[in-house]
Symmetry: C2
Subunit: 566 residues, 2 copies
């Protein structure tokens, strides 16, 4: 069937088996936690961690990626679904399942149409800024759970101002037992990340095994707080617990086919798809590079699309590749996608048999798990790097972070996309245009402002450092006239050196024709030099060459030699 099944051997089975156990142990608390973050019943997180893993394993291209609920996508789901239905309502759950179906269909469709390039609309710095801002929002929403304060009645997801007000109001009403559980778990997890590996090594474990085993710390805290909560009957003392989870595997059902609902979710689903895809592919690429393997973006789209459709039909929420799980899967020695299938089996067993034990699990424990998982993603260094490298990259990142924090994830992403594109168009709409002259004794032409070069009164040579297209056609026109006006009395030839012109679109072509026409009226000929092959091919398909008053020279040197004697 798929290629990876041919790689299965005794040794890969061992690696995949170990990886599956560790990943399943990480996935249990994470899947419960991210379902709650999305405002959904905990079991939906488990459902989203069974079939989707199998779906991705069969069709995706990474052999290390671990798919399932992830923090940022869960936050975006909460934001989108919260606009349509109240948290806890049947409509909310239905909309989340529809969101998984819609996002899955979009990803699958993009993959089949080979539209992977669309994800390039978001620049790396913008994605990094978006994840940082989302991480802050996620951490603050979870802080409410740890403090045990009433959550604001506003829609889940939320914005920095709303969260700060809510936490400010709530600080006077914190709940002692909840805070004890939450803060205790938080401190334990932070300690475990830092010191557990070395403790385990002192107990005689290998370095790698110690590192791996330490990753299961969340499961230890889950078990410990379940025991504590159960013995101390914390639920009766006002500690929020996960409560009863339906036993058994999810029933299959078609996602809701409601045109109005799908339309309302469409934009959000597109944003979730793109963000989930970008996150997942960048994780997959990083891991693949370590083993000298490749990720196929269009196959990834198909794999993630099928994973989300699988999540939807089995009652789960939107999923994508998760960073921490995938790294653990990779480091635990997963060699083939069988690791993910084993992990899915593990979660299925838990869902079948162990859900009654999860009743007493405090939500504060899960909140602490999320905070510890999300804080490494909060990283403001990108702002400093962008500031020193380019103001336009900085503007895009700063805008994305500010708008994500202030207005929420959706406007944040859209602003990031918009700003990236607008700044790119702005830059290319005012291209660098240099008047060039010949460096004495060579055939090279350089900027007259930077070099001692030879120029002639009857001609001016311009090098345009950009493709000519609709966004800069008008600028080109003004710039040429401004330069021509300067030496109009003696000028007979304008030469545009097209070394950096990778394309001339129809708008620019029309502008060139109007420039030729105007210059002709003033007794000046327009010539081109060093036109690239594909550009020349296109010019020949149009009537442009009939309009030309001058010639097209192979090199700028030839143009200068021919025209300086004319």
């Amino acid at each position: 069937m798929t290629i990876w099944t041919q790689n299965i051997s005794k040794s890969t089975l061992a690696g995949d088996g170990v990886a599956a156990v560790v990943v399943a142990m990480m996935l249990i608390p994470q899947s419960l936690a991210y379902a709650l973050l999305a405002g959904l019943p905990a079991e939906m997180g488990l459902y989203a961690s069974i079939l989707p893993l199998v779906g991705y394993a069969l069709l995706g291209s990474s052999n290390a990626l671990s798919v399932g609920p992830v923090a940022v996508v869960s936050l975006m789901t909460a934001t989108a679904v919260g606009k349509i239905a109240a948290t806890g309502s049947v409509g909310y759950v239905t909309a989340a399942i529809a969101m998984a179906a819609l996002s899955g269909s979009m990803l699958l469709g993009m993959g089949l149409l080979r539209l992977g390039f669309l994800s390039n609309l978001l620049s790396h710095p913008v994605v990094s800024g978006f994840i940082t801002a989302s991480g802050i929002i996620i951490a603050l929403t979870q802080l409410q759970h740890i403090l045990g304060i009433e959550q604001s009645s506003e829609m889940p997801g939320g914005t920095l101002p709303a969260l700060l007000i809510s936490i400010g109001h709530g600080l006077t009403q914190w709940h002692g037992s909840t805070l004890a559980i939450g803060a205790g778990t938080l401190l334990f997890l932070l300690w475990a990340r830092r010191y557990l590996p070395s403790v385990l090594r002192h107990l005689g474990l290998q370095r790698d095994s110690a590192e791996l085993l330490a990753k299961t710390a969340p499961v230890i805290s889950v078990i410990a707080t379940i025991v504590a909560s159960s013995i101390l009957s914390l639920e009766t003392k006002g500690v929020a617990v996960v409560g009863s989870i339906p036993k058994g595997l999810p029933a299959f059902s078609m996602p809701p086919m409601d045109g109005t609902l799908w339309r309302e979710l469409a934009l959000s689903a597109a944003l979730i798809s793109v963000i989930g895809f970008i996150e997942s592919v960048s994780i997959g690429r990083t891991l693949a590079a370590k083993r000298n393997q490749r990720i196929d973006a269009n196959k990834e789209l198909i794999g993630l699309g099928v994973a989300n459709l699988a999540s939807s039909v089995s009652g789960g929420l939107p999923v994508t590749g998760g960073l921490s799980r995938s790294v653990v899967n990779f480091e635990a020695g997963a060699v083939t996608q069988l690791a993910s299938i084993f992990a899915a089996l593990g979660i299925a067993v838990v869902t079948l048999l162990l859900t009654p034990f999860l009743y007493h699990l405090p939500k504060a424990t899960l909140a602490a798990t999320i905070i510890v998982a999300i804080t490494p993603l909060i990283d403001f260094r990108m702002l400093r790097i962008a500031w020193s490298y380019s103001r336009s990259d900085f503007t895009a990142v700063a805008l994305t972070i500010a708008l994500t924090l202030i207005t929420g994830v959706e406007i944040g992403v859209l602003a990031g996309i918009g700003a990236s594109i607008a700044l790119h168009l702005h830059k290319t709409s005012q291209p660098h245009i240099a008047v060039v002259g010949e460096v004495p004794g060579t055939e090279h032409f350089r900027n007259v402002l930077r070099h001692e070069v030879i120029t002639y009164p009857q001609m001016v040579s311009l090098r345009v450092d950009e493709s000519l297209y609709f966004a800069n056609a008008a600028y080109l026109e003004s710039a040429i006239y401004a330069i021509v006006d300067l030496q109009e009395d003696t000028l007979a030839h304008v030469i545009i050196q097209c070394t950096a012109v990778n394309e001339i679109d129809l708008s620019a072509l029309e502008t060139l024709e109007s420039i030729i026409h105007e210059l002709k009226g003033r007794g000046i000929k327009l010539h081109l030099s060093e036109v690239k092959g594909p550009v020349m091919d296109a010019l020949e398909r149009s009537s442009f060459l009939d309009h030309m008053t001058g010639q097209i020279f192979l090199t700028q040197h030839q143009a200068c030699e021919a025209l300086k004697v004319s």
Copy 2:
């Protein structure tokens, strides 16, 4: 004050005076007609043709542009305002006045912030396609008036399917007298455009004067049909007439300051502003070029902004520069903006004294005027030109025309903008990357696929024909790995020739760093050659150079010489 007042002399006064009379005579029927097209009372068209002309004359940069209501902007106004209030209601009129104020503020703001480049988001072919499609919609809406059929109760503006259904239903209910007036006017105007100039020349007029006088044919048809309608009491026979128009000049008033209304109108106002600005500037540029003058885009924004604000405070609708009027103004000899001020005075006099005579004017006459004015703008040649020149230009134009016809003007414009940008990003997201080798006996490097060149097993040279930025960073990475994989066994050096790289943004920079890192793991060094000054400056501001495993060479030739012996 402004510069053009210094150009006034006896001879310019004569030219400006003649132009003013002709333009005023054209403006009267046009301004009434375009107000009706916008679904507004006829007098609002007159109001929009007085103060706005003065406002533009004082601040705009073209001395031939004639500002006032125009067909496409009126259609867009009808579409936008029709979503908020019912035609004929007070709210509809208020919203149209608010639209003029909002659009004026946006244009003025863009001008003051020097954001003229934003109008470049629309490519010429897309604008041309949009105007063609709008022209068809306008002609069909007016056809209903000429047939005298009940207009559909749907919002004004409309779409091709809705108009065709409405006309289809209405064909059985056409109104004889209305059709006679409308069709008669239409035939007269078409005849006048074709033959009136030569008739007038036979009567002894100069060629230019005959051409000009023929442009006033609409006024003749207005007078003739008023007389006919009045004598035959056509109103009592069911012919729709303009009806009573308030006498006197408009009262000044502040535009409605209603936050909700302004928010609802904001997107439409932005589209109207951009389309109006692009139309106006391209007319201004064409006329200015004929006299060797320049148009300043930012001054144009300010002039049009003030014109729209002036329209709003005097109870008018959104305005911009009109093609036919401006050409007539130019050809009639307008030399300074005084022509427009005189024309405004003429309209003011008409508004003060002659409105009672307009009572019996059949709406079908105005509809015929609009159809004759709009049909020259319907031009499908752009589709053919774009098809043969470039598929992506064709896609953008075809999409714009189709969506404007099917879904209306607003989605049409947005689709045009979106398609232009998406196609540009798509093209630049998969740049041409050539493996190059040295042409024997020269220092030139060309594509190995097209030329006989020298290559070496230990190095591969790539020329990337595009700036490196977020949209193509991922593509670059895959392309380089694919090329490296081909000769991995012997490869020690990869050289990227950056002749056509006008920019490297932060996303691309991070990608380059990860490429360097991966190649390093495989024992391959990455070098750059022919890096442009501004790009090099940016690289030096980052930590990129610390990551470099190879060197940065001034020329590709030097790189090859240095590495072929290593």
